[in-house]
Amino acid sequence: MIEFSHVYKTYPGPVHALKNVELRIDKGEFVFLTGPSGAGKTTLFKMISAYDVATSGEVRVAGHNLVTIKDTQIPLYRRKIGVVFQDFKLLKDRTIFENVALPLIVRGDKAPAIQRRVYEVLEQVGLAHKHDQYPEFVSGGEQQRTAIARAIVHQPGVLIADEPTGNLDPRLSEEIMDLLERVCAQGTTVFVATHDHEMVKRRNKRTLELRDGMIVGDSK
């Protein structure tokens, strides 16, 4: 489902952000990515979400070769993945329902199908009763749950989450991780970058450790 083969990424300078990265994450797996700031986590996630291209090597995600993918194919590829950010990236001028509905609108789904699916996902993340509220007026945990609902509403094969609990307290962080595990249990590959080593230990999932652009540990 996610496969990196001899991947190098060098920025002008030169700065070697990734060095000979080899990894394979299978369908339905839940994997943590840890490492200090500047280790290359964000670069790796940018490649998975097709915002950056490897200098050399091969990156394959959900059947797409992201090194040779054409610009016009990138939006279609992104409809097959879900992305969750630390700062939620919700649209403040749209309700929770409207935020969650966006990927389905972009995909061109019909209104009744959108309504049905969005309420289904809002039930799943426990936010159905807040569907008509604006993000600014709900808690941080609820905002992140909205972001996760938006990332899974179109049933992506892969969900990547970059520090999804970075702005949340420990109790809310656990709630979010529980939610991500439930998403994974439904067959979605979940790849989570985090600094929270305690939580990683408690969850007992496969963990990749990135340091200086290299994978230095894989608990598999």
């Binding site: 964000t42 996630f45 979400s49 939006p75 992104r78 409809r79 001028d93 972009v106």
Partner: protein, 297 residues
């Protein structure tokens, strides 16, 4: 369903700036049009006089008229016979020099002439050139004593027209460029204020046209609405100024010759405003997919 209070201040300020820009543009066009009208009016006084010799036959005169018409540059030819010329001369000089007007011998020296007006489709800037060419063609003909077209006045008038037309063209280019710059920047501010939305749309797989389209539409609507508002402002100012010219400065006789822009031009102006707005938007969003989201973190 958007929060209706969002970005109202930005939208209103953008509209005000764009309207001001279009108002300057429409006022300049209105000024240019009326200048041109006035110059055309003055241009109607530009004519050529072909003085005929005393012994010219009717056939000879007709040949000269045919030659003038054949040039294709002539609009109207009027024969001023010696009799008409004498009558005019007497009328003009009766109060200034009554003795002179009674001098039969002197008056016999006044020749018959042909008053020639140029065709109306000849631009003011080309009148001098055409008159010079016609004069050169007619002067050697038998029966022609002299050709006069007020060379000094016509040359100065043509030079003035030429300078004004060039100035208006340059001014037009500067104003259009300024409008493009202002609208483009106004839209850029709008793009910046919606950066988060663009990031999210990119992230969830919106195509580039899906992302750009709302900004292009916004630019076009902004251009159309602000240009229409500018025309309203321009019309109000025009009415006021015309009223002033008619009531307070009637001796200038300018008021009756002033005209507002034609309905077809107004429609074209609004369409042009929409196109300019859309193009201004395009200039600032053509690189929209450089990856805002990709630059995060």
């Amino acid at each position: 369903m958007r929060n209706p209070t969002k970005n109202w201040a930005l939208k209103i300020s953008t509209l005000v700036v764009a309207t001001a820009c279009f108002a300057v543009m429409s006022a300049s066009l209105l000024l240019a049009q009326n200048f041109k009208n006035l110059l055309t009016l003055w241009g109607e006084d530009v004519q050529m006089t072909v003085y005929l010799s005393q012994d010219i036959s009717d056939k000879g005169r007709q040949d000269i008229e045919e030659k003038l018409k054949a040039s294709g540059k002539v609009g109207d030819i009027r024969l001023i016979t010696q009799q008409i010329a004498l009558t005019d001369f007497r009328a003009q000089l009766a109060s200034y020099a009554p003795d002179l007007s009674q001098d039969e011998e002197l008056l016999k020296l006044i020749p018959a002439s042909l008053q020639v007006r140029l065709a109306s489709d000849i631009s003011a800037a080309d009148q001098t050139k055409e008159l010079q060419a016609l004069a050169a063609q007619i002067r050697p003909l038998q029966g022609v004593d002299e050709v006069s077209y007020g060379q000094d006045w016509v040359e100065k008038y043509s030079a003035l027209v030429s300078v004004l037309e060039t100035t208006m063209r340059l001014l037009g280019i500067v104003i259009v460029a300024a409008a493009l710059f202002v609208i483009s920047n106004a839209i850029r501010a709008s793009v910046q204020s919606r950066k988060e939305e663009i990031i999210v749309l990119e992230m969830i797989g919106a195509t580039y046209s899906m992302i750009r389209k709302p900004f292009l539409v916004e630019g076009a609507v902004l251009g159309a609405v602000s240009s229409a508002l500018a025309l309203v402002i321009c019309f109000v100012l025009y009415t006021g100024i015309k009223g002033l010219l008619v009531s307070k400065l009637s001796f200038l006789q300018l008021g009756e010759h002033l005209q507002f822009l034609s309905p077809a031009f107004l429609i074209l102006f609004v369409i042009g405003g929409a196109a300019l707005g859309a193009f201004g938007s395009y200039l600032c969003i053509r690189r929209i997919n450089d990856g805002y989201a990709g630059s995060q973190g």
